[in-house]
Symmetry: D2
Subunit: 135 residues, 4 copies
């Protein structure tokens, strides 16, 4: 079982759509922002280090269920947890909460694939990365 | 079997992210733009008519698989097809293509829920709407 | 002379464009987010209160000079200061800094017009609002 | 006097904000999309060619006056015209119209600076570029 990490995301007015809710695609942006923060703060391998090594992460699949609308006065809390590794891919579960009540706003899973920046091709995740991520 | 409808989406420079690809959450924005166009052009019930009647559609679930990166010089073609209805919900499958080659860029499914704007609560989709959508 | 207020804005990966910098239009989003925070925190009249009273603010003019690119690892600090009032309009100067060095990233001015939500028409800013804003 | 060129921009649902209008920063995105199209279609020097040559354009200043709100059912027409050149900079005037009525929605000016991608520094615009742009 891998650790769960949380990040707080401030909701901006430009995230709000015509329904007065956080626009549905922005939830994926909040997730990405949380992952970047957690890579650096919790896994101690910032995205910028990956890029220096010639690697990057791309999303291969995302699945999200919307449970409760986030609104401008909310703060979002994004929790993520690695589920498993498979070759070039890592499976990550996530939950997005309203900070005040910690009621669930959305949940889902995403598959990230490690790619070589030069070739764009998937690259088997090295053991040392998996180790660093195994907190 | 319900009809498939296609919409062309122009890719804008602000859709491109640090990887020089269309940002992953923008695919959901392209899908939404396509659905709005198709509601009006193909189903003949524009979103604005729903809103006048006191209803709106919200996404309850989205699932997307990223197959090939869209880049700035691409034009996206978004194809959607209703799969089924269930109470207040409609299940829609979608495919996003690169226009030049018609190679698949992404595919997925989304569940929309019809809600009352006043209460925010789900509302059983009326038969007359289903009929209009049954093209 | 009116007070200057500062807000910190976290830069998200979806704010970064193909040049690996914060996309140029996002600076206006950071400004708006800062104004919303400052309305509530510093002027004690949250945007939501305006809306309850039937009023809103719209931007009538914006002018921005880009001095230094913000990048993902930066935190933006947005400082604003009211310059003057004129009928339905308020003139606001702003400065956006890189938090680490407090070097200037952008600066400019914006004119907001108070409007009636019902009519969309400009409304003379009431004295009591100007007073609350005169901190 | 330099030529004026027009581009049509489709408004997407994700461009609409809580006021049910096109969000104010999106106007700058529409302008950028128009410039990219016009560089390729009208000036015959696509942004991608600049980048291949090691150059890029960055906005150094933008000024925009909002006259009439664009809404979802509008199509935006963005017209631009070069005003003058000065070293590494080009001054461009722009007008954004509602397509149906051709009533003005916004207008402004923007200064772009040609930069070397390697150094990030401004580069004097070569005569051959100015010639190509002198249509």
């Amino acid at each position: 079982m891998y650790s769960k990490f949380k990040s707080e995301i401030t909701i901006r007015p430009d995230d709000i759509d015509m329904n007065n809710h956080v626009h549905y695609s922005k939830y994926l942006d909040y997730l990405l922002a949380a992952r970047f923060e957690q890579m650096e703060r919790d896994y101690k391998v910032a995205m910028s280090e990956f890029i220096k090594l010639g690697y990057s992460w791309v999303a291969s699949k995302a699945e999200i269920e919307f449970k409760r609308a986030l609104v401008l006065k909310d703060t979002a809390v994004v929790e993520t947890q690695i589920e498993s590794y498979n070759g070039a891919q890592v499976y990550v579960n996530f939950w997005i909460y309203k900070k005040d009540s910690m009621k669930i706003a959305a949940e889902g899973k995403v598959i990230y694939t490690m790619v070589s920046i030069k070739t764009g091709r998937p690259v088997r995740i090295p053991e040392e990365i998996i180790e660093k991520y195994s907190v």
